[in-house]
């Protein structure tokens, strides 16, 4: 299988009042054609920001500060080969180096997204079918005139307001896009699509609305779907249906899906390969078997140990002690970010580990992947608490 998307060294920073937050830290991964890639991590691990960075939707005060996002798009590659040789590599183009207009035109048509909260992603005052038809219409017009990326959603200025007021019946969408919207609703398993298309978002249940959002994401027939926690807000019985739908759609359309979730069960159900994120980095990657059966990184092991097993409950869970770091640049030493919670932290962990190859596609950013645990190297107990304290003292002095 050939690659569809190669992300290399992607870093995203947020410049907040508390300081610079390194939300995504030099992330590499590859999405192949026709696969579902899972990205799993806890809240604040940077998994959602990674997705937003790929499609250039990071909002201020955030910014993609480094990295390349190579996307396979032969026609664009040909177009830019002479104009911007740096941005082209074979059939691949680096989305980060393309002009803003071109990048925007890829949204929806090449790369599409599904977010967690469907009810806040739809406009409550417009029928669901109309909103999906609008997405279809945008893509249709963009195809007819590739350089025009104007859509109604971009024209909420004063002129648009006046125009809408003067010509109230001015419809952006036409019958054809409406019919396509109904087809899409049917494709995602909504019964009576023609009738449901006329209904408003509040008349849909959570699961149905999530299906409608998937339909909207499919409007531009994308090659890549970024699904960010698509089932987190749903009940398990509904979740099962949505996961099945995503798998089926992937098989039918041959697109690739990046599924971002905190739930290892969801990953196990849908993905072939996955990456585990912690503190903005991918700390372990591999096939499902690699990561679930032979986890090398203590964080991955800890994550797996924290989940109560439904079929075979252990008398006591093995949680990871401590809390996720804040990712504020000034407080992040150049060490393994997990070392302060790691039961096997060693002296060399104070220096950031590179990614070690464990075999096949399996890789881990942990010295344990290179050699086993060496007790002689273990950090003294309470090492990081002392560090934090002395840093606190220095900070206090600086304040005086």
């Amino acid at each position: 299988m050939s690659d569809l998307l190669r992300v290399r060294g992607l870093s995203t920073r947020f410049f907040t009042e508390e300081g610079q937050v390194n939300a995504v830290e030099s992330v590499d991964f590859t999405v192949r054609e026709n696969e579902i890639l899972g990205i799993v991590g806890e809240s604040g691990s940077g998994k959602s920001v990674t997705a937003l960075s790929i499609i250039d939707l990071v909002e201020s005060p955030g910014r993609v500060s480094a990295g390349e996002v190579w996307y396979r798009k032969p026609d664009l590659a040909d177009e830019f080969r002479s104009k911007r040789p740096d941005a082209v590599d074979g059939d691949f183009v680096d989305l980060q180096q393309l002009p803003v207009g071109v990048r925007r035109s890829l949204r929806g048509s090449a790369i599409s997204t599904v977010f967690q909260d469907a009810s806040s992603s739809f406009n409550p005052a417009i029928p669901v079918g109309e909103q999906i038809a609008e997405a279809v219409e945008v893509q249709r017009r963009a195809r007819a005139n590739p350089r025009s990326t104007r859509s109604r959603t971009q024209g909420y200025g004063l002129a648009q307001y006046l125009l809408d007021g003067l010509v109230p019946a001015r419809n952006y969408t036409d019958t054809e896009s409406h019919e396509r919207a109904i087809e899409l609703l049917e494709q995602v398993g909504i019964p009576d699509p023609a009738e449901r298309a006329e209904e408003y978002p509040h008349q849909f249940s959570g699961g149905m609305l999530q299906r409608a959002m998937i339909a909207q994401a499919l409007a531009g027939e994308p090659d890549l779907l970024l699904a960010d926690e698509p089932t987190t807000a749903l009940d398990v019985t509904v979740q099962a249906g949505i996961l099945e739908l995503l798998s089926d759609l992937q098989e039918e359309t041959g697109m690739s899906i990046v599924l971002i979730t905190h739930d290892l069960g969801v990953i196990a159900r849908t993905c072939d390969r996955l990456g585990v994120m912690y503190a903005g980095e991918i700390v372990e990657r591999g096939t499902l078997e690699d990561v679930f059966e032979d986890a090398v990184h203590p964080y991955t092991q800890g994550l797996l140990g924290s989940i109560p097993d439904l079929d075979d409950p252990a008398p006591r869970l093995q949680p990871i002690e401590g809390n996720v770091p804040d990712l504020i640049d000034a407080e992040m030493a150049n060490r393994c970010y997990f070392a302060d919670r790691c039961p096997k932290a060693m002296e060399e962990c104070l220096e950031k580990p590179p990614e070690f190859d464990v075999g096949g596609e399996h890789g881990a950013k942990c010295y344990l992947a290179e050699h086993g645990y060496d007790e002689g190297q273990a950090l003294p107990e309470g090492y990081f608490e002392e560090q934090a304290e002395s840093r606190g003292r220095q900070g206090g002095e600086a304040d005086d």
Binding site: E244, L264, A268, P313, L317
Partner: protein, 521 residues
């Protein structure tokens, strides 16, 4: 088994919509939303009952209603034998039964320090309260003196917020010296008729102190139990103790909630719930807002606290693996009713109700074999609690609806017929759906479409009387006789699941489902 700590009987909580003045003037019928509709269960002392269900099934409302945080519409709740809904003074009940909320962000006041948050229940209940911790009893019939027994109640330490107590017994000066009988750490007879006793009690039982006063006449005896320090000090000390007990440090007592992470905040919520030393806690989704690694810490903490303090939990959650981990018994809720209850292992290993089975099947397991596991996703949505289905509430989605004896359809075909009937009865189908678009020869078209519908939309195995009934119903609909169509289909296909409401049997692992034997009547 001993008497349960909590008994809930036929608890109902309805919310009424459209019942304000304007609605009355417009003569609109009020609509009731049956959030909790006849729920009964017991919680034994020291056990954890898991109450599990999907969003909107009424599990949180149940928890809040039984604590009288919401007024129940109907039903009875007995806590330690006492009827909670008829209590005029809730003080004692509130001390003995507490709650931990789901959202650790909105349930802590951002403008209060953690110390004040934890002390707040003490302040509300006006604790420590020295007047309520001891009693005395003077016995005159002792030769050579008068014996006074001072009884220090078992919750003295809690009421005073300290393990170090001092009992002072004051009596008329001049009636003679007093002696304390029994071994105490520190006994200090003072002049002027005061005896001080220092107690270091674990205070898990009431304590009698016998004081012998050599006097000829009965003296006036006054007893006071006190802890060192002012009330403010005592409360603050208690807050510090509680912080440490839940795994935080006493030094954090003056910090504000925003300085803590979600897991730490949930620990603060638990400390607050423990401040009054309750016996019973409603844990309303206490870990669902937390990441898995932190969730495991909190679950372990809850288990430890239960063991140390002998707590009884009602654990409300939607996450089945968490429920399995922490519960001794489980009750499964669907649309305001309990559909199955039983010991945790039986519920998870041999679920009886089709809903429980579907729920368990839907949970994705974090295992490599998960990809290959067959999951039959439940069809449809949870019906509205405004107008719940008749009979069994799960029947609209149930994969095992029971057809009448003489109906020979497969389950899939029967499901289709039931869905058709439901849409018919809800008025979603009308003649135009059947009659086709503007044909002259209406009946012929109807007939063709009937065959097509029966053959394609409904499963192929409808034969004989089943096929005739479907055909007849669709024909009637085509002729515009909707009621006739409804009737024709019902006559043939009505299931016991829609006629009768199944109930929980009187046994250890009952399931409210017609697949299992139902009590007569």
């Amino acid at each position: 088994m001993t008497e349960p700590l909590l008994e809930v009987e036929d608890l109902r909580k309805y919310y009424t919509e459209r019942d304000d003045l304007i609605d009355t003037l417009l003569r609109r019928e009020p609509v009731s939303v049956r959030a909790v509709d006849g729920v009964s269960f017991d919680v034994q002392r020291g056990e954890t009952l898991g109450l599990v269900g999907e969003s909107g099934c009424g599990k949180s409302t149940t928890g809040e209603t039984l604590l009288r945080l919401r007024e129940a519409t109907e039903g009875q709740v007995r806590f330690d034998g006492e009827d909670v809904f008829s209590l005029s003074d809730l003080g004692e009940f509130r001390r003995r039964a507490g709650i931990v909320f789901q959202d650790p962000y909105s349930s802590l006041d951002p403008r209060m320090t953690v110390g004040r948050i934890i002390q707040e229940p003490l302040a509300v209940h006006d604790l420590p309260d020295p007047s309520r911790v001891a009693d005395r009893d003077v016995d005159l019939a002792v030769a050579g003196g008068i014996e006074a027994t001072v009884r220090v109640f078992d919750d003295a330490a809690m009421l005073l917020g300290s393990d170090d107590l001092q009992v002072s017994v004051e009596y008329d000066a001049g009636v003679g010296p007093a002696e304390i009988e029994g071994e105490y750490d520190h006994v200090e007879p003072l002049d002027g008729g005061v005896v001080l006793v220092d107690l270091e009690t674990g205070a898990d039982h009431a304590l009698d102190i016998d004081v012998l006063i050599r006097a000829r006449q009965p003296p006036d005896v006054e007893v006071e139990v006190s802890a060192a320090g002012s009330r403010g000090d005592v409360r603050r000390r208690r807050a510090e103790d509680l912080l440490e007990r839940v795994g935080l440090s006493a030094g954090q007592v003056d910090r504000y909630p925003h300085e803590f992470s979600g897991g730490q905040r949930q620990r603060i919520g638990i400390a607050r719930a423990l401040a009054l030393e309750p016996e019973f806690l409603v844990l309303d989704e206490p870990v669902s807002a937390l990441d898995v690694s932190v969730q495991a810490q909190i679950l372990n903490l809850l288990s430890d606290l239960q063991e140390e303090l002998g707590l009884t939990y009602l654990f409300i959650a939607h996450d089945l693996s968490v429920v399995r981990h922490i519960s001794d018994r489980v009750a499964v809720m669907y649309l305001g009713e309990i559909v199955e209850t039983g010991p945790v292992d039986e519920i998870f290993e041999a679920p009886r109700h089709p809903y429980t089975q579907a729920l368990l099947e839907s949970v994705p397991r974090a295992e490599t074999a998960e990809r290959e596991r067959e999951v039959e996703a439940l069809a449809g949505d949870v019906p509205s609690p405004r107008n719940p289905p008749s009979g069994c509430r799960f029947r609209t989605r149930c994969p095992e609806v029971i057809p009448p004896d003489d109906v020979a359809l497969s389950q899939a075909a029967y499901r289709e017929v039931m869905d058709y009937r439901e849409r018919l009865e809800a008025g979603e189908l009308d003649p135009s759906d059947v009659a086709g678009a503007g044909s002259d020869e209406e009946f012929v078209v109807t007939n063709a479409i009937v065959s097509e519908l029966v053959g394609a939309a409904f499963a192929a195995d409808a034969t004989g009387a089943d096929r005739t009934a479907i055909q007849q119903s669709i024909e009637l609909l085509g002729e515009g006789d909707r009621e006739g169509a409804v009737e024709a289909a019902r006559e043939r296909f009505e299931s016991v699941c829609e006629r009768q409401t199944p109930v929980l049997q009187e046994e250890a692992h009952p399931a409210a489902c017609h697949l299992y034997e139902q009590p007569e009547g």
